[in-house]
Symmetry: C2
Subunit: 657 residues, 2 copies
């Protein structure tokens, strides 16, 4: 198979060729084998020599050992002149320690004596793959699935490289199939797919990754042949217990299930008058004997709204559906909450459930797959967004009240919790469609493991690993990455109003694309104003936040400007903090956004000769597309606003009529 090595692209270290290392450990097993293999690959490339096994004269000794005082995934690295000790409470921690060691060696950040100790911030660091059994990927922009093809499970060399890549950034759980569990996917639970799943789970286990599946809540009917899937029915309970026993006893290191229920047409407990808690807890009972976990998604709303209904507000619904259930979920259930209340727009307020739930395990769900952020044809480095989300103060009255405090369990005692991302991989040769999109996958893993890293730190790590440490390369690509989310936000739908996108496939501008549809996402632009009022005078969404957030969001004057049109209906002549009108602000940002992309393309072009030619050309081509497409965004949004208002750009730039 021919595919790139992404950030595991080990390359010679200048001045260190022939440097000898040896590896010493009393541990053994699949994880240790993988550590050896990684060290072999890396050192052969970096130093021209694989490390010796066992103590060797004249070689730097890498000593791997367990320290039972530490967590299984934590590690400590102590480097002196001739020795590098890596200690952990478990083999997984040793693996993570080795990856950090290699990262530091490769990027030149292991100079002198070093002592560092790391404990993963989040207990669960999970990849959600929306891969379908036929081989397609829902919201996939990097080719087809490498997990499934023609309704079969694929296990091959790429499975191993996938696991290795994910482990290298600390991912410890993967849900391999789409949350919409259709066609043959419900049968993943059964004997039919058992053999390859066991094989895959073994590979995953060797990299510290637990295999999870998405399940279909109707499985007792669809797969089990029962006449009901009522979570309170004895037959149904027995069926799930037996199905889970069979799975957990046979599939090594199996983790549990991700569930999308009563959402966008997926079946759920509502069909039987049961609550989400009834449904989730029944499953939790079935998986508890094996240490299994049920991850239950909170993405529940009415997707059959009439656009003429101006009362119903989709943004309110996830909170309303779950807040009353706080405290009712079993301890091995985790609610997985999207970062915002709607759906992965380029800008949304942080979901009010994070501050609302106090007695419920929570996970944050972000989207590394660029569904609404350019589909890996635009560069859009999302770590600045993730950083903001994690740092958001929910003001929920707890001692530690940021999102990262709540999902990591810092405030609630590190129970079942963590962070998940809908990821962006596919069978494209470069894994992520756009080469630069790999920074998002890398960064997601890194920030999930160390939730205090900055986007800049992560960017520089990733650039150095992927392209080497040439300072211009580092600087230009860091600039491109750091400019990209703000630029995308500028030329996208303004000020968090979102959804000005082509329906269904969500690519390209379309101001009215969802405006008269059933999805509850309306901008309601008229000649003089734009937006929906979600204050206490409108749909009341702002009141789902604790004070002082509720009051802050409730008023145009105190609402953060970047969220202005999420919370308020605002006149086009409203004066922004900049002194410009709202309309002029929209024009300005759209011109700026497209200009920023031209700058990004120029920054890339300046690296010609410093980047491997094929990799250079791939990114150049996508940036050229982005230059044109960002203009299309600019022009369509600006023209729409101009036609609506008939007020020209104050700076006289070209707006098409």
């Amino acid at each position: 198979m021919d595919y790139t090595k992404v950030w595991l692209n080990y390359r010679p270290i200048e001045g260190a060729q022939g440097k000898k290392h040896c590896v010493c450990t009393r541990e053994s097993g699949a994880v240790i084998d993988n550590i050896y293999a990684e060290l072999d690959t890396a050192f052969a490339a970096m130093y021209g020599e694989k490390p010796a096994r066992g103590l060797t004269d004249g070689a730097v000794k890498i000593d791997l050992f367990l320290d039972k005082t530490m967590g299984k995934e934590s590690y400590r690295i102590e480097k002196s002149d001739r020795t590098i000790d890596i200690a952990s409470g478990g083999q997984e921690g040793l693996l993570y320690g080795v990856f950090e060691l290699l990262r530091r060696m490769q990027t030149g950040t292991l100079e002198g004596n070093v002592r560092l100790e790391k404990k993963p911030s989040n207990p669960l660091r999970m990849a959600n793959h929306w891969d379908n059994m036929e081989g397609t990927i829902e919201r996939g922009y990097s080719g087809m699935s490498f997990f499934f093809e023609n309704n079969e499970v694929i296990v091959n060399e790429r499975t191993r490289d996938y696991a290795r890549m994910m482990a290298s950034v600390g991912i410890n759980a993967s849900v391999i199939n789409n949350v919409n569990v259709r066609t043959t996917a419900p049968w993943l639970l059964t004997e039919r797919y058992r053999a390859p799943l066991i094989e895959m789970a073994k590979i995953f286990a060797g990299y510290g990754i637990r295999l999870f599946l998405s399940l279909n809540f109707a499985s007792p009917v669809r797969v089990g042949g029962l006449d009901t899937a009522d979570p309170c029915d004895e037959k149904v309970i027995a069926w799930w217990k037996e199905t889970c026993r069979d799975l957990f006893e046979n599939v090594p290191n199996f983790g549990g299930f991700l569930v999308k229920a009563d959402s966008e047409g997926e079946f759920g407990p509502f069909a039987y008058g049961r609550t989400h808690a009834d449904g989730a807890n029944m499953l939790a009972d079935a998986v508890r004997p094996y240490g299994g976990i049920i991850v239950w998604r909170c993405f529940v709303y009415n997707c059959q709204q009439d656009w003429r209904d101006n009362v119903t507000d989709r943004a309110c619904q996830s909170y309303i559906n779950f807040i009353g259930l706080d405290g009712q979920f079993a301890d091995n259930v985790i609610l997985q909450i999207k970062n915002g209340p709607v759906d992965f727009q380029v800008r949304e307020p942080v979901h009010p459930l994070f501050g609302g739930l106090k007695h419920t395990n929570m996970m944050l769900e972000v989207q590394v797959a660029q569904e609404y952020t350019g589909q890996q044809r635009h560069v859009c480095y999302l770590l600045p967004e993730f950083r903001e989300i994690l740092d958001f103060k929910t003001c929920n009255g707890e001692k530690y009240d940021t999102v990262k405090d709540l999902i990591s369990g810092k405030n609630y005692g590190y129970k079942n919790c963590g962070i998940a991302a809908v990821v962006n991989t596919g069978n494209d040769a470069n894994w992520t469609g756009h080469d630069l999109a790999a920074a998002n996958l890398y960064g997601f893993g890194r920030i999930a493991f160390e939730d205090t890293l900055t986007p800049e730190q992560i960017a520089r790590e990733w650039i150095a690993l992927t392209y080497g440490t040439d300072e211009q390369v580092m600087e230009n690509i860091e600039k491109i990455l750091m400019m990209s989310w703000p630029a995308y936000e500028k030329y996208n739908a303004p000020l968090a109003i979102g959804w000005m996108v082509n329906p269904s496939y969500h690519f390209g501008p379309n101001v009215d694309g969802y405006e008269y549809d059933r999805w509850g996402t309306y901008h309601r632009i008229s000649h003089s104003a734009i937006g929906r009022d979600r204050s206490s005078r409108g749909t009341g969404y702002a009141q789902q936040y604790p004070e002082p957030l509720a009051s802050m969001y409730n008023e145009i004057d105190t609402c953060p400007e970047e969220l202005l049109l999420f919370f308020h209906r605002v006149r086009f002549d409203h004066v922004m903090k900049s002194g410009e009108t709202l309309l002029q602000h929209i024009y300005d940002t759209h011109f700026e956004g497209a200009e920023d992309v031209e700058k990004m393309a120029a920054l890339w072009d300046a690296l010609e000769g410093k980047i491997e030619p094929e990799a250079f050309a791939r990114v150049k081509e996508r940036l050229a597309f982005q230059v044109e497409h960002s203009k299309e965004w600019r022009d369509r949004i600006n023209t729409y606003m101009y036609r609506m208002t008939e007020i020209p750009d104050a700076k006289g730039r070209k707006i098409y009529e």
Copy 2:
């Protein structure tokens, strides 16, 4: 097979049961066999007795004979007390005469002594089926194809009933495959599909129908294995000659080809720097020895326009592409011209080529398939539209200058010319999806044969044949039909601006659906005005018409109001002839249109018990849908206009914000 008999739904004639008839003729052959079969079916149902063959005492004698002074498709019926003579110059004319006889018997319009003579107005009366080899139908709203399935040609009992149905209204040519000739369709020319095509052509011939195929201009490459399809290349010419010889010599009554070239991605002579005339004439040479005809479509335009380009005008392009070729086409080439310059919108001006071309055979192309007119889920009886088109005075300076005079050949000597319709059949049990849509198919055939019939006459014929002659049934359904096109026009895109429809599938309202797309169909609505200027001050489209039309269309004050927004950009505060503003006119017509549909539904409901229950229920269900969907049209258009202008309805009706 289980499908309805549509208008061939013969039923007992009150007070005439047991009435005896006999048929006498010296003619024989397939057409005569079909005449016998039709008389048997009809008389058994109407009189309870099949006609005797040969002179029979006490029976009304139906005498069928040839009169070589008449045209082959003309007929004369002379009815006296005991004798009905039907004479024609050909067996096809006898068949048409018999269908007219039966129609009159069934509808009670053959009282007393009758003498009538009919000559078809148009030499060619052609059905265009956009059926694909896989069995789908492009713009088909009545199920799947009954000509093709899984890349095979289907010939069965329904093929015969299809031919019979078409012959009963005078259709004499059918193009059975889509003008977009893709997948396996180019191979229809070849041996691969020869056997079933011969079988089908024989059935067609028995009903006076010539079989035509759509061809792919790239066939010499795609099918013939040549390295070019250049119409001036000797190899290509030879290939077409041989292919046509093979087809015409083996497929009985084969008519020729319909060609979509250099249009919407279909291949054509432009690829080799040749003209449409080069392409068409080369094919015409190849089919001439067999009396074959080449029908060449004029639907040629740039479908890759940038919405920001406000100079290019799709409406101008068909005329520009063909007017310079007038006189250059062979005499067995016919240019097939859509009724309007764009694409089958509910209202368009008549295509300027009709008045422009003076030395070229022309056919009018209309669309019976309701692509933009409700897709057979809305009732939209199109004969009033066809009537207007046929009667349109082109002012081209000829003695007979209406569209019907030009396409029938009345002005140019009845050469190769006529009328074609993209038809609305499929394998649904009722043939046309909506039972009432059969009136459009029926009416197309009837008006093509007799181009002076009124929509009301045709409606009453069709109703009587389909549902019987109960006066309330006749009256209510006639009202529904006659209200339906005006109603649809009212709640559709206003005043011929068109295109406020969902992209691709063309169903349901979407004001901006095509606004920023590549198809050249822009309304350019802004706060104060709507429409594109196609006058001499704008794109100049109005100047494609002869005077006085050019001047009439050129000015807002003289432009017919129903075409106002096709030709002009008009301020919303423009005062219409009614005294209302343009904006208020839009509001009014949209409220009226939806109200009209409620009236139509009530008219149908009043017929409960008078219509066969299943047929009643089918139409009732579709009308109930139309009631709701016309409100969706009303509300989306009105809301869009309201948001744009912020001027409320003067009559205080509900417009959603």
